[in-house]
Protein backbone atom coordinates (compact mmCIF):
# COMPACT_ATOMS: atom_id res chain seq x y z
CA UNK A 1 0.00 0.00 0.00
CA UNK A 2 2.85 2.35 0.90
CA UNK A 3 4.54 1.49 -2.37
CA UNK A 4 1.38 2.27 -4.29
CA UNK A 5 1.13 5.66 -2.59
CA UNK A 6 4.79 6.36 -3.33
CA UNK A 7 4.20 5.45 -6.97
CA UNK A 8 1.33 7.95 -7.18
CA UNK A 9 3.43 10.71 -5.59
CA UNK A 10 6.17 9.95 -8.10
CA UNK A 11 3.71 10.10 -10.98
CA UNK A 12 2.45 13.47 -9.75
CA UNK A 13 6.04 14.74 -9.61
CA UNK A 14 6.65 13.55 -13.17
CA UNK A 15 3.47 15.18 -14.42
CA UNK A 16 4.37 18.47 -12.75
CA UNK A 17 7.97 18.38 -13.98
CA UNK A 18 6.82 17.68 -17.52
CA UNK A 19 4.43 20.61 -17.36
CA UNK A 20 7.13 22.93 -16.02
CA UNK A 21 9.69 21.78 -18.61
CA UNK A 22 7.33 22.26 -21.52
CA UNK A 23 6.13 25.67 -20.36
CA UNK A 24 9.69 26.84 -19.62
CA UNK A 25 10.62 26.38 -23.24
CA UNK A 26 10.89 29.46 -25.40
CA UNK A 27 9.02 29.52 -28.67
CA UNK A 28 5.36 30.05 -29.26
CA UNK A 29 3.24 27.07 -30.26
CA UNK A 30 0.54 29.29 -31.76
CA UNK A 31 3.04 31.08 -34.02
CA UNK A 32 4.10 27.71 -35.41
CA UNK A 33 0.59 26.43 -35.90
CA UNK A 34 -0.85 29.32 -37.92
CA UNK A 35 -0.09 29.54 -41.65
CA UNK A 36 2.61 32.05 -42.66
CA UNK A 37 -0.02 34.39 -44.12
CA UNK A 38 -1.88 34.73 -40.81
CA UNK A 39 -2.06 38.10 -39.07
CA UNK A 40 -0.98 38.60 -35.44
CA UNK A 41 -4.68 38.75 -34.58
CA UNK A 42 -5.17 35.27 -36.01
CA UNK A 43 -2.32 33.99 -33.88
CA UNK A 44 -3.80 35.67 -30.81
CA UNK A 45 -7.19 34.11 -31.50
CA UNK A 46 -5.63 30.66 -31.84
CA UNK A 47 -3.69 31.23 -28.64
CA UNK A 48 -6.92 32.05 -26.86
CA UNK A 49 -8.67 29.06 -28.41
CA UNK A 50 -5.92 26.68 -27.23
CA UNK A 51 -5.89 28.43 -23.82
CA UNK A 52 -2.21 29.27 -24.23
CA UNK A 53 -2.83 32.83 -23.02
CA UNK A 54 -4.21 31.83 -19.61
CA UNK A 55 -2.01 32.30 -16.52
CA UNK A 56 0.33 29.37 -15.98
CA UNK A 57 -1.37 28.37 -12.72
CA UNK A 58 -4.70 28.13 -14.51
CA UNK A 59 -3.16 26.04 -17.27
CA UNK A 60 -1.61 23.74 -14.67
CA UNK A 61 -4.88 23.34 -12.81
CA UNK A 62 -6.68 22.55 -16.08
CA UNK A 63 -4.04 19.99 -17.06
CA UNK A 64 -4.07 18.26 -13.65
CA UNK A 65 -7.85 18.32 -13.51
CA UNK A 66 -8.10 16.78 -16.95
CA UNK A 67 -5.52 14.16 -16.10
CA UNK A 68 -7.49 13.04 -13.05
CA UNK A 69 -10.48 12.49 -15.31
CA UNK A 70 -8.35 10.59 -17.81
CA UNK A 71 -8.40 13.50 -20.24
CA UNK A 72 -5.06 14.55 -21.70
CA UNK A 73 -6.45 17.39 -23.76
CA UNK A 74 -6.71 17.76 -27.50
CA UNK A 75 -3.85 17.50 -29.98
CA UNK A 76 -3.00 20.92 -31.41
CA UNK A 77 -2.31 19.60 -34.90
CA UNK A 78 -4.64 16.61 -35.23
CA UNK A 79 -7.56 18.24 -33.43
CA UNK A 80 -8.60 15.05 -31.67
CA UNK A 81 -8.15 13.80 -28.10
CA UNK A 82 -4.58 12.95 -27.11
CA UNK A 83 -5.84 9.79 -25.42
CA UNK A 84 -7.08 8.54 -28.78
CA UNK A 85 -3.75 9.36 -30.48
CA UNK A 86 -1.87 7.45 -27.77
CA UNK A 87 -4.36 4.59 -27.68
CA UNK A 88 -3.66 3.93 -31.35
CA UNK A 89 0.11 4.19 -30.94
CA UNK A 90 0.67 2.32 -27.66
CA UNK A 91 -0.27 -1.22 -28.83
CA UNK A 92 2.16 -0.91 -31.75
CA UNK A 93 5.06 0.02 -29.48
CA UNK A 94 4.08 -2.47 -26.79
CA UNK A 95 3.83 -5.26 -29.35
CA UNK A 96 7.22 -4.35 -30.70
CA UNK A 97 8.65 -4.06 -27.16
CA UNK A 98 7.20 -7.27 -25.72
CA UNK A 99 8.06 -9.49 -28.68
CA UNK A 100 11.61 -8.19 -28.85
CA UNK A 101 11.97 -8.55 -25.07
CA UNK A 102 11.00 -12.24 -25.20
CA UNK A 103 13.56 -12.83 -27.94
CA UNK A 104 16.08 -10.69 -26.05
CA UNK A 105 15.69 -12.79 -22.94
CA UNK A 106 16.02 -16.20 -24.59
CA UNK A 107 18.98 -15.27 -26.78
CA UNK A 108 20.71 -13.13 -24.15
CA UNK A 109 20.54 -15.74 -21.38
CA UNK A 110 21.69 -18.47 -23.78
CA UNK A 111 24.73 -16.43 -24.88
CA UNK A 112 25.59 -15.34 -21.33
CA UNK A 113 25.35 -18.90 -20.00
CA UNK A 114 27.45 -20.21 -22.86
CA UNK A 115 30.10 -17.61 -22.04
CA UNK A 116 30.07 -18.38 -18.32
CA UNK A 117 30.46 -22.11 -18.94
CA UNK A 118 33.29 -21.55 -21.42
CA UNK A 119 35.36 -19.27 -19.22
CA UNK A 120 39.05 -19.57 -19.96
CA UNK A 121 38.45 -20.55 -23.59
CA UNK A 122 38.52 -18.25 -26.58
CA UNK A 123 34.70 -18.42 -26.85
CA UNK A 124 34.17 -16.20 -23.81
CA UNK A 125 36.26 -13.14 -24.78
CA UNK A 126 35.14 -13.45 -28.42
CA UNK A 127 31.48 -13.32 -27.40
CA UNK A 128 32.18 -10.51 -24.92
CA UNK A 129 33.70 -8.51 -27.73
CA UNK A 130 30.83 -9.31 -30.10
CA UNK A 131 28.09 -8.46 -27.60
CA UNK A 132 29.84 -5.26 -26.51
CA UNK A 133 30.20 -4.24 -30.16
CA UNK A 134 26.51 -4.82 -30.90
CA UNK A 135 25.64 -3.06 -27.65
CA UNK A 136 27.72 -0.12 -28.91
CA UNK A 137 25.91 0.04 -32.25
CA UNK A 138 23.10 2.57 -32.62
CA UNK A 139 19.85 0.76 -33.39
CA UNK A 140 18.98 3.08 -36.27
CA UNK A 141 22.25 2.20 -37.97
CA UNK A 142 21.66 -1.53 -37.50
CA UNK A 143 18.19 -0.98 -38.92
CA UNK A 144 19.53 0.75 -42.02
CA UNK A 145 22.09 -2.02 -42.53
CA UNK A 146 19.42 -4.72 -42.27
CA UNK A 147 17.23 -2.84 -44.75
CA UNK A 148 20.14 -2.62 -47.15
CA UNK A 149 20.67 -6.39 -46.94
CA UNK A 150 17.19 -7.86 -46.58
CA UNK A 151 15.09 -5.42 -48.55
CA UNK A 152 17.26 -4.21 -51.41
CA UNK A 153 20.13 -6.71 -51.33
CA UNK A 154 17.73 -9.64 -51.21
CA UNK A 155 16.10 -8.47 -54.43
CA UNK A 156 19.36 -7.67 -56.20
CA UNK A 157 21.08 -10.92 -55.21
CA UNK A 158 17.94 -12.98 -55.85
CA UNK A 159 17.59 -14.40 -52.34
CA UNK A 160 14.56 -16.67 -51.73
CA UNK A 161 11.32 -14.69 -51.27
CA UNK A 162 11.15 -15.68 -47.59
CA UNK A 163 14.25 -13.57 -47.00
CA UNK A 164 12.98 -10.55 -48.94
CA UNK A 165 11.56 -8.58 -46.08
CA UNK A 166 9.52 -5.38 -46.21
CA UNK A 167 11.21 -2.40 -44.61
CA UNK A 168 8.47 0.17 -44.21
CA UNK A 169 5.21 0.29 -42.31
CA UNK A 170 3.31 -2.30 -40.36
CA UNK A 171 1.36 -3.92 -43.19
CA UNK A 172 1.26 -4.04 -46.97
CA UNK A 173 -1.06 -1.22 -48.12
CA UNK A 174 -2.19 -3.37 -51.04
CA UNK A 175 -2.71 -6.49 -48.91
CA UNK A 176 -5.85 -7.87 -47.29
CA UNK A 177 -7.04 -6.51 -43.96
CA UNK A 178 -8.00 -9.70 -42.10
CA UNK A 179 -7.30 -13.37 -41.82
CA UNK A 180 -4.17 -15.46 -41.97
CA UNK A 181 -2.43 -13.64 -44.78
CA UNK A 182 -2.87 -10.33 -42.97
CA UNK A 183 -1.23 -11.82 -39.87
CA UNK A 184 1.63 -13.23 -41.93
CA UNK A 185 2.00 -9.82 -43.52
CA UNK A 186 2.30 -8.06 -40.14
CA UNK A 187 4.77 -10.68 -38.89
CA UNK A 188 6.90 -10.24 -42.01
CA UNK A 189 6.88 -6.48 -41.46
CA UNK A 190 7.86 -7.05 -37.84
CA UNK A 191 10.88 -9.27 -38.48
CA UNK A 192 13.43 -6.52 -39.12
CA UNK A 193 12.37 -4.07 -36.36
CA UNK A 194 12.09 -6.85 -33.76
CA UNK A 195 15.47 -8.25 -34.81
CA UNK A 196 17.18 -4.88 -34.36
CA UNK A 197 15.65 -4.28 -30.91
CA UNK A 198 16.32 -7.87 -29.80
CA UNK A 199 19.93 -7.82 -31.02
CA UNK A 200 20.79 -4.71 -29.01
CA UNK A 201 18.84 -5.94 -25.99
CA UNK A 202 20.26 -9.47 -26.08
CA UNK A 203 23.78 -8.07 -26.18
CA UNK A 204 23.02 -6.16 -22.96
CA UNK A 205 21.32 -9.12 -21.22
CA UNK A 206 24.18 -11.43 -22.24
CA UNK A 207 26.68 -9.11 -20.55
CA UNK A 208 24.59 -9.24 -17.39
CA UNK A 209 23.76 -12.95 -17.55
CA UNK A 210 27.42 -13.86 -17.98
CA UNK A 211 28.52 -12.21 -14.75
CA UNK A 212 25.49 -13.50 -12.80
CA UNK A 213 25.97 -17.10 -13.95
CA UNK A 214 29.74 -16.90 -13.44
CA UNK A 215 29.23 -15.63 -9.87
CA UNK A 216 26.77 -18.41 -9.09
CA UNK A 217 28.99 -21.09 -10.64
CA UNK A 218 31.51 -20.37 -7.89
CA UNK A 219 28.96 -20.82 -5.09
CA UNK A 220 29.37 -23.54 -2.48
CA UNK A 221 26.16 -25.38 -3.25
CA UNK A 222 27.28 -25.66 -6.87
CA UNK A 223 30.53 -27.22 -5.73
CA UNK A 224 28.54 -29.64 -3.59
CA UNK A 225 26.31 -30.53 -6.53
CA UNK A 226 29.39 -31.24 -8.63
CA UNK A 227 31.03 -33.19 -5.84
CA UNK A 228 28.06 -35.53 -5.51
CA UNK A 229 28.52 -36.37 -9.17
CA UNK A 230 25.67 -34.51 -10.89
CA UNK A 231 26.22 -34.15 -14.63
CA UNK A 232 27.14 -30.64 -15.74
CA UNK A 233 23.77 -30.16 -17.44
CA UNK A 234 21.90 -30.79 -14.21
CA UNK A 235 24.27 -28.59 -12.23
CA UNK A 236 23.61 -25.66 -14.51
CA UNK A 237 19.91 -26.29 -15.06
CA UNK A 238 18.88 -27.00 -11.49
CA UNK A 239 21.40 -25.10 -9.42
CA UNK A 240 22.84 -22.22 -11.38
CA UNK A 241 20.15 -21.05 -13.82
CA UNK A 242 17.35 -21.59 -11.32
CA UNK A 243 19.09 -19.04 -9.09
CA UNK A 244 20.17 -16.72 -11.87
CA UNK A 245 16.77 -16.36 -13.49
CA UNK A 246 14.75 -14.41 -10.88
CA UNK A 247 16.96 -11.30 -11.00
CA UNK A 248 17.04 -11.57 -14.79
CA UNK A 249 13.24 -11.75 -15.02
CA UNK A 250 13.03 -8.64 -12.86
CA UNK A 251 15.67 -6.92 -14.96
CA UNK A 252 13.59 -7.75 -17.99
CA UNK A 253 10.45 -6.23 -16.48
CA UNK A 254 12.45 -3.15 -15.60
CA UNK A 255 13.81 -2.84 -19.11
CA UNK A 256 10.43 -2.95 -20.86
CA UNK A 257 9.94 0.84 -20.69
CA UNK A 258 13.49 1.33 -21.94
CA UNK A 259 12.81 -0.91 -24.90
CA UNK A 260 9.57 0.90 -25.63
CA UNK A 261 11.45 4.20 -25.49
CA UNK A 262 14.31 2.79 -27.54
CA UNK A 263 11.88 1.91 -30.28
CA UNK A 264 11.75 5.62 -31.12
CA UNK A 265 14.56 5.09 -33.61
CA UNK A 266 13.39 1.77 -34.95
CA UNK A 267 9.89 3.15 -35.44
CA UNK A 268 11.34 6.17 -37.16
CA UNK A 269 13.46 4.13 -39.59
CA UNK A 270 10.81 1.49 -40.31
CA UNK A 271 7.91 3.99 -40.34
CA UNK A 272 5.95 2.12 -37.65
CA UNK A 273 3.01 4.15 -36.31
CA UNK A 274 3.94 3.73 -32.64
CA UNK A 275 4.52 5.92 -29.58
CA UNK A 276 8.03 6.88 -30.63
CA UNK A 277 6.97 8.22 -33.97
CA UNK A 278 3.98 9.99 -32.43
CA UNK A 279 6.38 11.64 -29.96
CA UNK A 280 8.92 12.72 -32.60
CA UNK A 281 6.22 14.06 -34.91
CA UNK A 282 4.54 15.93 -32.07
CA UNK A 283 7.87 17.41 -30.97
CA UNK A 284 8.71 18.90 -34.34
CA UNK A 285 5.17 20.32 -34.60
CA UNK A 286 5.26 21.68 -31.02
CA UNK A 287 2.12 19.71 -30.32
CA UNK A 288 2.45 20.20 -26.53
CA UNK A 289 -0.52 18.08 -25.41
CA UNK A 290 0.69 15.01 -27.33
CA UNK A 291 4.29 15.48 -26.15
CA UNK A 292 3.18 15.82 -22.53
CA UNK A 293 0.72 12.95 -22.79
CA UNK A 294 3.33 10.64 -24.31
CA UNK A 295 5.92 11.59 -21.67
CA UNK A 296 3.47 10.89 -18.86
CA UNK A 297 2.53 7.56 -20.44
CA UNK A 298 6.19 6.54 -20.73
CA UNK A 299 6.77 7.51 -17.10
CA UNK A 300 3.68 5.60 -16.01
CA UNK A 301 5.11 2.53 -17.76
CA UNK A 302 8.39 2.90 -15.85
CA UNK A 303 6.67 3.38 -12.50
CA UNK A 304 4.35 0.45 -13.19
CA UNK A 305 7.27 -1.79 -14.16
CA UNK A 306 9.14 -0.84 -10.98
CA UNK A 307 6.07 -1.53 -8.87
CA UNK A 308 5.52 -4.89 -10.58
CA UNK A 309 9.16 -5.85 -10.06
CA UNK A 310 8.92 -4.96 -6.35
CA UNK A 311 5.80 -7.08 -5.95
CA UNK A 312 6.89 -10.04 -8.09
CA UNK A 313 10.45 -10.52 -6.88
CA UNK A 314 9.50 -11.95 -3.44
CA UNK A 315 7.11 -14.36 -5.18
CA UNK A 316 9.68 -15.88 -7.53
CA UNK A 317 12.64 -15.59 -5.19
CA UNK A 318 11.61 -16.56 -1.63
CA UNK A 319 14.96 -15.34 -0.26
CA UNK A 320 13.92 -11.76 -0.93
CA UNK A 321 11.01 -11.43 1.40
CA UNK A 322 9.73 -7.90 1.25
Amino acid sequence: MRRLAAAFVLLWLVVTLTFVLVRLAPGDAAALLVPPTATPEDAARLRAELALDAPIAVQYAKWMGGLLRGDLGESFTQRRPVTRVLREALPVSLGLGVSSLVLTFVVGVAIGTLQATRRGTVVDPALTFATTAIYAAPSYWLALSLIAVFTYGATVWGLPPALRLPAFGIRDPAGVETGWSALVDVVRHAVLPVTVLAAVGAAGIARYARSTVADLAGAEWVRTARAKGLPSRAVYGRHVLANALPPLVVLLALSLPGVVAGSVFVESVFAWPGMGRAMVTAISARDYPVVMGATVLYAALVILANLAADLVLPLIDPRRDA
Binding site: L11, L13, V14, A133, V200, S211, G258, I283, A299, N306
Partner: protein, 281 residues
Protein backbone atom coordinates in the same frame (compact mmCIF):
# COMPACT_ATOMS: atom_id res chain seq x y z
CA UNK B 1 44.42 -3.11 -17.15
CA UNK B 2 43.65 -6.04 -19.42
CA UNK B 3 44.70 -6.29 -23.04
CA UNK B 4 41.35 -5.21 -24.47
CA UNK B 5 41.29 -2.11 -22.28
CA UNK B 6 44.86 -1.19 -23.20
CA UNK B 7 44.01 -1.63 -26.88
CA UNK B 8 40.92 0.58 -26.39
CA UNK B 9 43.00 3.30 -24.74
CA UNK B 10 45.48 3.31 -27.63
CA UNK B 11 42.62 3.32 -30.14
CA UNK B 12 40.96 6.31 -28.46
CA UNK B 13 44.30 8.12 -28.36
CA UNK B 14 44.77 7.60 -32.09
CA UNK B 15 41.19 8.70 -32.72
CA UNK B 16 41.63 11.91 -30.74
CA UNK B 17 44.85 12.69 -32.60
CA UNK B 18 43.12 11.98 -35.93
CA UNK B 19 40.07 14.15 -35.28
CA UNK B 20 42.33 17.01 -34.23
CA UNK B 21 44.89 16.70 -37.02
CA UNK B 22 43.04 15.42 -40.09
CA UNK B 23 40.59 18.32 -40.62
CA UNK B 24 43.40 20.80 -39.86
CA UNK B 25 45.81 19.28 -42.39
CA UNK B 26 43.34 18.11 -45.03
CA UNK B 27 43.60 19.59 -48.52
CA UNK B 28 39.82 19.60 -48.96
CA UNK B 29 37.35 21.68 -46.98
CA UNK B 30 34.86 19.24 -45.38
CA UNK B 31 32.07 21.85 -45.43
CA UNK B 32 32.56 23.52 -48.83
CA UNK B 33 30.50 22.28 -51.75
CA UNK B 34 32.43 22.52 -55.04
CA UNK B 35 31.79 20.93 -58.40
CA UNK B 36 29.01 18.61 -57.23
CA UNK B 37 28.52 16.74 -60.53
CA UNK B 38 32.20 15.86 -60.86
CA UNK B 39 32.76 14.87 -57.24
CA UNK B 40 29.55 13.43 -55.76
CA UNK B 41 29.22 9.87 -54.46
CA UNK B 42 32.73 8.72 -55.31
CA UNK B 43 33.17 5.17 -53.92
CA UNK B 44 35.78 4.56 -51.21
CA UNK B 45 39.47 4.41 -52.17
CA UNK B 46 39.04 5.98 -55.59
CA UNK B 47 39.48 9.36 -57.26
CA UNK B 48 36.85 11.82 -58.46
CA UNK B 49 36.64 13.30 -61.97
CA UNK B 50 38.99 16.09 -60.90
CA UNK B 51 41.68 13.57 -59.98
CA UNK B 52 41.45 13.99 -56.20
CA UNK B 53 41.74 10.81 -54.16
CA UNK B 54 39.10 10.07 -51.50
CA UNK B 55 39.94 7.42 -48.91
CA UNK B 56 36.33 6.76 -47.90
CA UNK B 57 34.64 8.31 -50.94
CA UNK B 58 32.41 11.37 -51.03
CA UNK B 59 28.83 12.21 -50.08
CA UNK B 60 26.03 13.50 -52.29
CA UNK B 61 27.56 16.99 -52.37
CA UNK B 62 31.05 15.75 -53.27
CA UNK B 63 32.49 16.39 -49.81
CA UNK B 64 35.26 14.05 -48.69
CA UNK B 65 33.75 11.57 -46.21
CA UNK B 66 36.94 10.81 -44.31
CA UNK B 67 37.68 14.45 -43.53
CA UNK B 68 34.02 15.07 -42.69
CA UNK B 69 33.98 12.05 -40.41
CA UNK B 70 37.02 13.31 -38.54
CA UNK B 71 35.47 16.77 -38.18
CA UNK B 72 32.28 15.08 -36.95
CA UNK B 73 34.41 13.09 -34.53
CA UNK B 74 35.58 16.34 -32.94
CA UNK B 75 31.98 17.33 -32.23
CA UNK B 76 30.81 13.86 -31.20
CA UNK B 77 33.74 13.21 -28.88
CA UNK B 78 33.70 16.69 -27.38
CA UNK B 79 29.94 16.67 -26.80
CA UNK B 80 30.06 13.11 -25.43
CA UNK B 81 32.90 13.75 -22.99
CA UNK B 82 31.70 17.20 -21.95
CA UNK B 83 28.09 16.03 -21.61
CA UNK B 84 29.07 13.14 -19.40
CA UNK B 85 31.42 15.29 -17.28
CA UNK B 86 28.73 17.95 -16.92
CA UNK B 87 26.24 15.30 -15.78
CA UNK B 88 28.83 13.95 -13.37
CA UNK B 89 29.56 17.41 -11.96
CA UNK B 90 25.88 18.30 -11.50
CA UNK B 91 25.26 14.90 -9.93
CA UNK B 92 28.18 15.33 -7.53
CA UNK B 93 27.02 18.77 -6.39
CA UNK B 94 23.40 17.71 -5.97
CA UNK B 95 24.22 14.39 -4.31
CA UNK B 96 26.80 15.86 -1.95
CA UNK B 97 24.60 18.81 -0.95
CA UNK B 98 21.60 16.56 -0.42
CA UNK B 99 23.52 14.19 1.83
CA UNK B 100 25.26 17.02 3.73
CA UNK B 101 22.25 19.24 4.31
CA UNK B 102 19.72 16.46 4.80
CA UNK B 103 16.12 17.32 5.66
CA UNK B 104 14.04 19.18 3.12
CA UNK B 105 16.94 19.72 0.68
CA UNK B 106 17.66 16.01 0.63
CA UNK B 107 14.03 15.02 0.17
CA UNK B 108 13.47 17.56 -2.58
CA UNK B 109 16.63 16.61 -4.48
CA UNK B 110 15.89 12.91 -4.28
CA UNK B 111 12.25 13.47 -5.22
CA UNK B 112 13.19 15.40 -8.35
CA UNK B 113 15.83 12.80 -9.17
CA UNK B 114 13.32 9.95 -8.75
CA UNK B 115 10.81 11.73 -10.94
CA UNK B 116 13.38 12.36 -13.68
CA UNK B 117 14.56 8.75 -13.45
CA UNK B 118 10.96 7.66 -14.05
CA UNK B 119 11.00 9.19 -17.51
CA UNK B 120 13.11 7.10 -19.91
CA UNK B 121 16.26 9.17 -20.53
CA UNK B 122 15.74 9.11 -24.26
CA UNK B 123 12.25 10.57 -23.93
CA UNK B 124 13.47 13.22 -21.49
CA UNK B 125 16.26 14.03 -23.92
CA UNK B 126 13.85 14.30 -26.85
CA UNK B 127 11.54 16.48 -24.79
CA UNK B 128 14.29 18.92 -23.79
CA UNK B 129 16.14 18.89 -27.11
CA UNK B 130 12.98 19.67 -28.98
CA UNK B 131 11.86 22.48 -26.71
CA UNK B 132 15.03 24.50 -27.14
CA UNK B 133 16.89 25.58 -30.27
CA UNK B 134 18.78 22.54 -31.60
CA UNK B 135 22.58 22.67 -31.68
CA UNK B 136 25.72 21.45 -29.95
CA UNK B 137 25.22 23.68 -26.89
CA UNK B 138 21.65 22.46 -26.38
CA UNK B 139 22.69 18.82 -26.70
CA UNK B 140 25.44 19.41 -24.15
CA UNK B 141 23.16 21.06 -21.61
CA UNK B 142 20.46 18.47 -22.15
CA UNK B 143 22.92 15.59 -21.68
CA UNK B 144 23.97 17.21 -18.41
CA UNK B 145 20.40 17.88 -17.33
CA UNK B 146 19.19 14.33 -17.99
CA UNK B 147 22.22 12.35 -16.82
CA UNK B 148 22.99 13.60 -13.32
CA UNK B 149 20.52 11.51 -11.32
CA UNK B 150 22.48 8.27 -11.19
CA UNK B 151 25.66 10.04 -10.10
CA UNK B 152 23.74 12.07 -7.52
CA UNK B 153 22.45 8.88 -5.85
CA UNK B 154 25.93 7.32 -5.88
CA UNK B 155 27.61 10.40 -4.40
CA UNK B 156 24.85 10.86 -1.85
CA UNK B 157 25.38 7.31 -0.59
CA UNK B 158 29.15 7.73 -0.48
CA UNK B 159 28.97 11.08 1.35
CA UNK B 160 26.65 9.59 3.95
CA UNK B 161 29.27 6.90 4.50
CA UNK B 162 32.26 9.22 4.55
CA UNK B 163 30.73 11.74 6.97
CA UNK B 164 30.91 9.13 9.73
CA UNK B 165 34.70 8.90 9.36
CA UNK B 166 36.81 10.23 12.26
CA UNK B 167 38.74 12.67 10.05
CA UNK B 168 35.50 14.50 9.31
CA UNK B 169 34.85 14.98 13.03
CA UNK B 170 38.47 16.05 13.40
CA UNK B 171 38.10 18.72 10.74
CA UNK B 172 34.89 19.93 12.37
CA UNK B 173 36.53 19.97 15.80
CA UNK B 174 39.31 22.14 14.39
CA UNK B 175 36.62 24.68 13.54
CA UNK B 176 36.52 24.34 9.75
CA UNK B 177 33.43 25.78 8.12
CA UNK B 178 30.82 23.22 7.15
CA UNK B 179 31.19 23.87 3.42
CA UNK B 180 34.97 23.53 3.67
CA UNK B 181 34.66 20.19 5.44
CA UNK B 182 32.26 18.99 2.74
CA UNK B 183 34.27 20.03 -0.32
CA UNK B 184 37.81 19.58 1.03
CA UNK B 185 37.44 16.44 3.12
CA UNK B 186 34.27 14.56 2.31
CA UNK B 187 33.65 14.91 -1.44
CA UNK B 188 37.19 14.03 -2.59
CA UNK B 189 36.86 10.75 -0.70
CA UNK B 190 33.41 10.03 -2.12
CA UNK B 191 34.25 10.50 -5.79
CA UNK B 192 35.33 6.96 -6.80
CA UNK B 193 31.96 5.59 -7.98
CA UNK B 194 31.10 8.95 -9.57
CA UNK B 195 34.26 8.83 -11.69
CA UNK B 196 33.48 5.29 -12.84
CA UNK B 197 29.89 6.24 -13.69
CA UNK B 198 31.05 9.32 -15.59
CA UNK B 199 33.58 7.31 -17.61
CA UNK B 200 30.98 4.70 -18.45
CA UNK B 201 28.59 7.51 -19.36
CA UNK B 202 30.81 8.85 -22.15
CA UNK B 203 29.94 6.09 -24.62
CA UNK B 204 26.27 6.42 -23.83
CA UNK B 205 26.42 10.20 -24.21
CA UNK B 206 28.06 9.86 -27.64
CA UNK B 207 25.32 7.44 -28.69
CA UNK B 208 22.56 9.73 -27.42
CA UNK B 209 24.05 12.73 -29.23
CA UNK B 210 24.24 10.72 -32.44
CA UNK B 211 20.63 9.61 -32.00
CA UNK B 212 19.37 13.14 -31.51
CA UNK B 213 21.35 14.30 -34.53
CA UNK B 214 19.97 11.39 -36.57
CA UNK B 215 16.43 12.55 -35.77
CA UNK B 216 17.37 16.12 -36.72
CA UNK B 217 17.14 17.37 -33.12
CA UNK B 218 20.87 17.53 -32.37
CA UNK B 219 23.82 18.92 -34.34
CA UNK B 220 22.47 20.75 -37.37
CA UNK B 221 23.93 20.38 -40.88
CA UNK B 222 26.14 21.59 -42.48
CA UNK B 223 28.12 20.96 -39.27
CA UNK B 224 28.79 17.22 -39.38
CA UNK B 225 28.10 14.77 -36.57
CA UNK B 226 28.18 10.99 -36.93
CA UNK B 227 24.44 10.91 -36.31
CA UNK B 228 23.46 13.47 -38.94
CA UNK B 229 25.93 11.93 -41.42
CA UNK B 230 24.12 8.59 -41.06
CA UNK B 231 20.83 10.44 -41.53
CA UNK B 232 22.29 12.01 -44.68
CA UNK B 233 23.15 8.56 -46.05
CA UNK B 234 19.78 7.08 -45.13
CA UNK B 235 18.18 7.26 -48.58
CA UNK B 236 21.48 6.37 -50.25
CA UNK B 237 21.78 3.07 -48.37
CA UNK B 238 21.26 1.18 -51.66
CA UNK B 239 23.07 3.31 -54.22
CA UNK B 240 25.94 4.56 -52.04
CA UNK B 241 25.97 2.50 -48.82
CA UNK B 242 29.38 3.82 -47.74
CA UNK B 243 27.90 7.23 -46.89
CA UNK B 244 25.91 5.78 -43.96
CA UNK B 245 28.13 2.81 -43.13
CA UNK B 246 31.41 4.68 -42.52
CA UNK B 247 30.15 7.03 -39.76
CA UNK B 248 28.28 4.10 -38.19
CA UNK B 249 31.49 2.09 -37.95
CA UNK B 250 33.29 5.10 -36.44
CA UNK B 251 30.50 5.38 -33.86
CA UNK B 252 30.58 1.68 -32.97
CA UNK B 253 34.39 1.61 -32.62
CA UNK B 254 34.42 4.73 -30.44
CA UNK B 255 31.59 3.64 -28.14
CA UNK B 256 33.03 0.12 -27.92
CA UNK B 257 36.43 1.48 -26.88
CA UNK B 258 34.83 3.78 -24.27
CA UNK B 259 32.77 0.90 -22.85
CA UNK B 260 35.70 -1.51 -22.62
CA UNK B 261 37.82 1.15 -20.97
CA UNK B 262 35.05 2.05 -18.51
CA UNK B 263 34.44 -1.63 -17.70
CA UNK B 264 38.08 -2.15 -16.86
CA UNK B 265 38.17 1.00 -14.74
CA UNK B 266 35.14 -0.21 -12.82
CA UNK B 267 36.60 -3.66 -12.29
CA UNK B 268 39.73 -2.04 -10.87
CA UNK B 269 38.03 0.54 -8.68
CA UNK B 270 34.94 -1.32 -7.61
CA UNK B 271 35.60 -5.02 -8.10
CA UNK B 272 33.50 -7.10 -10.45
CA UNK B 273 29.88 -6.16 -10.06
CA UNK B 274 26.84 -6.97 -12.15
CA UNK B 275 26.86 -4.76 -15.19
CA UNK B 276 24.40 -1.95 -15.52
CA UNK B 277 21.84 -2.03 -18.23
CA UNK B 278 21.68 1.47 -19.57
CA UNK B 279 19.16 2.47 -22.16
CA UNK B 280 20.49 2.15 -25.62
CA UNK B 281 19.90 4.33 -28.61
Amino acid sequence: MNRLARFSAVLLGVLVAAVVLVPALAATDPLAIGDVLATRLVPPASSDALGRFHLLGTDRFGRDLFVRMMLAGRISLAVGVAGSVLAGAVGTVVGASAAWRGGVVDRLAMGVSDALLSIPRLILLLLCAALWQPGAATVLVVLGATGWMGVARLVRGEVLGVRAQPYVSAAEALGARSSRVLWRHVVPNALGPAIVATTLGVGNAILLESGLSFLGLGIQPPAPSWGNMIAGGRDLIVTAPWVAIAPGVALIVTVLACTLLGDSLRDRLAGERPRDLAERV
